[in-house]
């Protein structure tokens, strides 16, 4: 018993790690990238965008989720999704506007907001200096990022 008492912290850490590790190894590849799956944003009432908007409206992460949801709903393949039908057609420039609102919070820690802003600008054929400024913002905040140049990503 004294051995357990002496090493209880390590035992708790390893037990937690083993439990999480077994769960992680059982996750399918699709699940492990759940936050990249469209259904996470446009399925039913418990999608991450609507839940975040209900709990923390106006925060950088919430606005980004909403932008992602709008971007997905603007694709014809998702037009029949319940959430997309309920929210109505995506207005021109809505995705960009939501990302700009997210950036306006001053939060620079969410790399995808900065990165995808540059991507959206490229997709919308924004002026070159605007795209360059967005890319510079992304790079200066996340200089070690391994994401490809947004100009190339946007054309894919």
């Amino acid at each position: 018993m004294s051995w357990i008492r002496t090493h209880k912290l390590l035992l708790v850490i390893y037990a937690t790690g083993m439990w999480l590790g077994i769960s992680e190894s059982n996750l399918s590849l699709e699940t492990s990238a759940a936050l990249e799956q469209p259904r996470t944003y446009i399925d039913g009432d418990d999608n991450v965008a609507d839940i975040s908007a209900a709990i923390y409206p106006g925060r950088a992460m919430t606005l980004y989720y909403q932008a992602y949801q709008a971007a997905l709903c603007s694709q014809p393949t998702n037009a029949q999704a319940q959430v997309c039908k309920a929210r109505g057609p995506v207005k021109p420039g809505e995705v960009r506007e939501l990302i700009e609102q997210s950036l306006a919070t001053g939060n620079r820690s969410i790399e995808f907001v900065l990165y995808n802003y540059a991507v959206v600008l490229v997709q919308e054929d924004a002026p070159a200096d605007q795209i360059d400024a967005a890319i510079r913002d992304w790079r200066s905040a996340h200089p070690t990022s391994t994401l490809p140049d947004p100009r190339n990503a946007a054309t894919k």
Partner: protein, 352 residues
Amino acid sequence: MTAIQRGYIHDARSDLLWFIALPVIAIAIAFIFHTQLPYMAQASITVWITVPHHYAGWVRGYGLGEDWSQWRGRLIVGPLLLIPTVVFGTAFLPITLAIVMMLWDHQHSLMQQYGFSRIYDFKAGTGAPNTPRLDLWLSIALYLNMLLTAPLWAELWIAELYRWELSLSADSIHQLQTLSWSLTLAYLLYYAVQIRRGLSQGHALNPMKYWFLLSSYALWYIVSWQDSLVLYLVAHRIMHGVQYMLMVYWYVDNKAERNGATPRLLGRLNVARFMLFGGLYAVAFHFGTGGDISVMSFGLIDALQADDGLGYTAEQAAGFYAATAVSAAAACHYYLDSYIWKVRDPKTQEGL
């Protein structure tokens, strides 16, 4: 015995500065990082505060003969067990490793502040027999409530629940957060009743402990309610790292003064030597683990790149930084030599 009995970790002035005011100063510094510096500048705090605070721990654990004798088994087995585990986790279970490390970091942070609160009672000779347990649960209640209810942390665990296919509805999350607040407030009430009972039984309390806890948790709660991870990263790391380094320094210093024990290879440390070795350790660790100059320069390199007028490439910016450092050192060297070598000075003559 009076109801109030003050006791300090070091002395009144140091405690006021480093344990009561530091969290406020740290928040102010964090806001400067948030509004004035590029996001990656926060990584420099890791280099210059977090890494040296690890060094301070090594100084005590592995440097003091007394600690080495007492904890030898764990000091040897710990790294032998943990380092391969981290290597395995990084390679095969990165999400698990990240979650475990984050949870352990939270546990470690709350236990440090709890530990300091215990020192306050120890130094003042205050508290009832049940105070350690009450304080521990106070820390757990406050910290856990913050993790469950603060937007900064809730955003993380809500996203993580999706990954693990355990997503909750907005109503469930609201109910969970309301329950958390209710339980925390109920515990605070229970704590107050227990303190009052302790006082009536003649157990004094140390107000410094409560100012310290208030200051620490105010920092965590304030930054956790902002929409910026930088504020937490900078403010928390400054508070945690600086207080830990000071604690180790004072501990080692007291040991040297009271029984002559000094850390191996380092001897009797003064503040300057302690900081110097910490800085050298930070630089060696940073470059030894493949870090670049950009991360340790508070974003200076990247600011040069981002500057429209200069428009440097990464290499040019690094070159600018290196050339500046060399020139600045040379300028200081020229100036120094201009006044320390006067042969007409009798003190200089003594060294010749």
